[in-house]
């Protein structure tokens, strides 16, 4: 069961690096191109949420991305140490009725992968757990 761990500074230029790594890992795992794309977008959204949260608070603690795969599925965890946020997007629409970025991100996370859960971390921060069946 291969496990790959990656840590990035909680800043926006590094999210593209994670996408490259995740695409490569997903292809190495033999996922088809549609699933490669889906997982890439979902992980990028989880990282963007972590980065935006940390940039806002000025936190420098790294964001940790863990990839694990077995015969049936791939699991990816994105863990940060930023302030606690409501990942489901508490402000669903703005004053003009448009969806906010947070709620669009949540919709993408929930739609693109088979499993998506948010957990508060001991010691502060949040973990987004994603899974996709092979």
């Amino acid at each position: 069961m291969p496990v790959v761990r990656l840590e990035i500074p909680p800043r926006s230029p590094y999210v593209g690096v994670v996408r490259l790594a995740i695409s490569s890992l997903a292809r190495t795992a033999g996922l088809d191109e549609e699933k490669v794309d889906d997982i890439k977008i979902a992980v990028s959204e989880a990282c963007a949420n972590a980065v935006l949260n940390n940039e806002e608070s000025g936190s420098d603690d790294p964001v940790a991305i863990t990839w694990e795969e077995d015969a049936d599925r791939v699991r990816i965890a994105v863990a940060d140490r930023g302030p606690t946020v409501d990942a489901s997007g508490s402000d669903a629409v703005d004053t003009q009725g448009f969806s906010t970025r947070a709620v669009m991100s949540y919709a993408l996370l929930k739609s693109l992968v088979d499993g998506c859960e948010f957990e508060q971390r001991d010691g502060g921060g949040m973990t987004t757990r994603l899974s996709i069946t092979r």
């Binding site: 996408r19 990028s44 448009f98 969806s99 993408l108």
Partner: protein, 111 residues
């Protein structure tokens, strides 16, 4: 990671050709360009996404923000996109009902 942004004028429309990946890092550059166009008086804007390889919620947020700006001047913001992987992002987030999405720049400008 660079985001390519080229602007052409076609009649009353400003056409923004975007190339590369629109994400949490590059979306602010697109936001600045769209704000600049509106502040210069371009209220009918076409954003051509045919050269875009990746689009996330930050990019969607920028497009929604630009739509609100042009609407404030009775303008329009339409998109050009035929790539399934990008269209999927608009469908999941319900934005296919918000943006006119065309399959060519000519269709978007009514040429």
């Amino acid at each position: 990671m660079e985001l390519g942004l080229d602007v052409q004028k076609k009649g009353s429309h400003a056409i923004v050709d975007v190339k590369g990946e629109i994400d949490v890092y590059t979306a602010p550059k697109l936001r600045e360009k769209l704000i600049e166009l509106v502040s210069e008086g371009s209220y009918d804007v076409v954003v051509n996404l045919e050269g875009v390889d990746f689009l996330d919620s930050t990019g969607l947020g920028v497009l929604v923000g630009a739509l609100k700006r042009v609407k404030a001047h009775d303008g329009s913001l339409s998109l050009v996109c035929t790539q399934d992987k990008i269209l999927k992002i608009f469908k999941i987030t319900g934005l296919t009902k918000v943006f006119p999405i065309h399959d060519s720049v000519d269709a978007a400008t009514g040429a």
